[in-house]
Symmetry: C2
Subunit: 348 residues, 2 copies
């Protein structure tokens, strides 16, 4: 059967002041009226039974995850709470092990919890295609055609020659410098790595055993033993890309074009949300006068914006952000700054 692992362990800071330590992006209601993780779960509708959906998240977010799982009909026993953040390798292999134990033929779809996908039907169609490729023993990644020379993404280069709808992979490049990213975008053989992987549980466990034998053994031990926290502490914080994908010879890529965005900043919401005739996106209790291409996320307090161009305003009960739209990547810097000063810790 097909199973899904939702990775909800992120702790992003780029949506400050809406996102906070105890409320990272996956819990924000920015793309719809629902938390992003619930949009992600909703998108799986008709694809897999709810019993086959598993969530890996941080222990600190237990309550929020339980709430969303309950809202969406996901069994609570399917939620795994990581005692500490360990990147993607350990949770993926641990849950693959768990799923394999009761369904040795399982095909697993790994999905981030906090990405935007415009075309849900197109998404499900591609996942089905990926599942059938994975059944032949491949670890399938979905590749997004680059929309620009983004330096924050991983790029995947394919080998030429389409094999019934998928490509073999030549190499992975994580976060290239701008000049390199520009070259990648021109070269049609590069795709963005969207962090969506599809594989047979058995294949993943075998590859883990091959490339990460020690860690793989620890995880196998942990999946049957109760002393979870002790073993978890010994596991490395490493991404599945770095641990397995970049080494495995079983990698395949399926190009995906379903209106994907990882919404990495306030500015990225432009691609996702509806604008008024002047290009503004406005929410909450707000009044705007002569503004263009601006984004106003008001809450209960009245926000009045006058004569602005390309400005982001995000109001929350205890903190307010006003940011030039093209500087919205710097919100990360701001939060780093706050994290170093005692008096600002309460705001992050």
């Amino acid at each position: 059967m097909t199973h899904v692992i939702i990775l909800a362990g992120g702790s992003g800071t780029r949506f400050w002041p809406l996102s906070r330590r105890n409320q990272p992006k996956q819990f924000l209601r920015v793309c719809s009226e629902k938390p992003m993780i619930e949009d992600t779960l909703l998108r799986l509708d008709t694809l897999v039974p709810k019993n086959n959906i598993h969530i890996a998240a941080g222990l600190v977010h237990t309550n929020k995850i339980r709430q969303s799982a309950s809202n969406m009909g996901i069994p609570l026993r399917n939620c795994f709470f990581e005692p500490s953040g360990k990147n993607t390798f350990s949770p993926i292999v641990l849950l693959s092990q768990k799923i394999y134990t009761f369904d040795p033929e399982a095909v697993i779809v790994v999905l981030p919890s906090d990405h935007f996908i415009k075309d849900s039907a197109g998404f499900r169609k591609i996942i089905k295609q990926a599942v059938s490729v994975a059944k032949n023993g491949y670890i399938v990644t979905l590749g997004i055609s680059p929309k620009g020379p983004e330096t924050g993404y991983g790029y995947i280069k394919i080998k030429s020659g389409n094999n019934k709808g998928f490509y073999f992979i030549d190499k992975f490049t994580e976060k290239p410098v701008l000049s390199v990213a520009k070259r990648f975008v021109k070269d049609r053989r590069y795709y963005w790595n969207a962090g969506m992987f599809i594989f047979k549980a058995k294949v993943m466990l075998d590859e883990a055993k091959k490339y990460m034998p020690k860690e793989s053994a620890l995880i196998q031990k942990m999946s049957s033993a109760p002393g979870l926290i002790k073993i978890w502490k010994e596991l490395p914080s490493i991404s599945i890309d770095y641990a397995i994908m970049e080494k495995s010879s079983k990698m395949a890529l399926i190009p995906a074009d379903f209106g994907w965005s990882d919404i990495g900043s306030w500015q990225a919401l432009e691609e996702v949300l509806k604008k008024d005739a002047q290009g503004n996106i406005v929410r909450g209790n707000s009044t705007i006068l002569d503004c263009n291409n601006s984004l106003v996320f008001a809450d209960k307090r009245l926000v009045a914006a006058v004569g602005l161009k390309d400005v982001v305003i995000v109001d929350t009960p205890d903190a307010l952000l006003v940011c030039a739209k093209d500087k919205s990547q710097d919100v990360k810097k701001l939060v780093e700054l706050f994290s170093k000063k005692n008096k600002y810790l309460k705001y992050i």
Copy 2:
């Protein structure tokens, strides 16, 4: 003796959201740690005894005026609360009448309560000079050399020929269009009307009797009768400029250069407040990153500004303004807009 009448009946909206119906500009702490009216009163120190300072204000602001009068040692009996706004003619003539009754030789200095003056000593020196000119029977206005073609001010044209430090006045022009204002600025015979007048009580009462006989009689009646509100209602809402100054042949002007600003908008604060090396003015709980020439008036909530240029941010507990600096005149429009919508009335 010299007396001062402080006009504190203003109800400006241009400092929204800091200024509100019950808190107009004269009560704001924008230029210093004190309300502007207290800065104005402080400036009179050594010029006149506190017993000789009179305040005309709106009845709705009774408590705030009493507080400031008490803070500054002004007798409460010197505060006159207008039952309704009647512009400047009626309160000035009424208080002149009152002062004249117990001091027939009184010279009166009329001053707005909400203007900024950089050079307090220079201000007092000019007032003393004006008082001595007024003693000869003139109604003296202080004229500010235009700093630019402002269309929101009144302009006063002098007659050529300096008469021992003052000029006779040729004509008044209220709020000229831009092309005319530009011409006025080039022509050295025009001054801004700063709303500061110095005259003998007797001279003002005589001129009022001459040019506004009916109203003058009503005011005289009212100054001795108790039925204040009834008579006040009959008085016209008219400025002293229009009622008297533009007609009187006793007008004189003394050029004044003591760093005056009426601070007519958030932008105008630039001329008054200290800036950091990037030209920013920052108050309250705020953090700025890569901002230039911006103004942040934070309150208790944290305000974070990133990458802004020429933006004004004013945060209050229930409403926030984010405004392009060169559009800060439009705050007035915003408040007008609010005044027409029921759900926004609570914010003005």
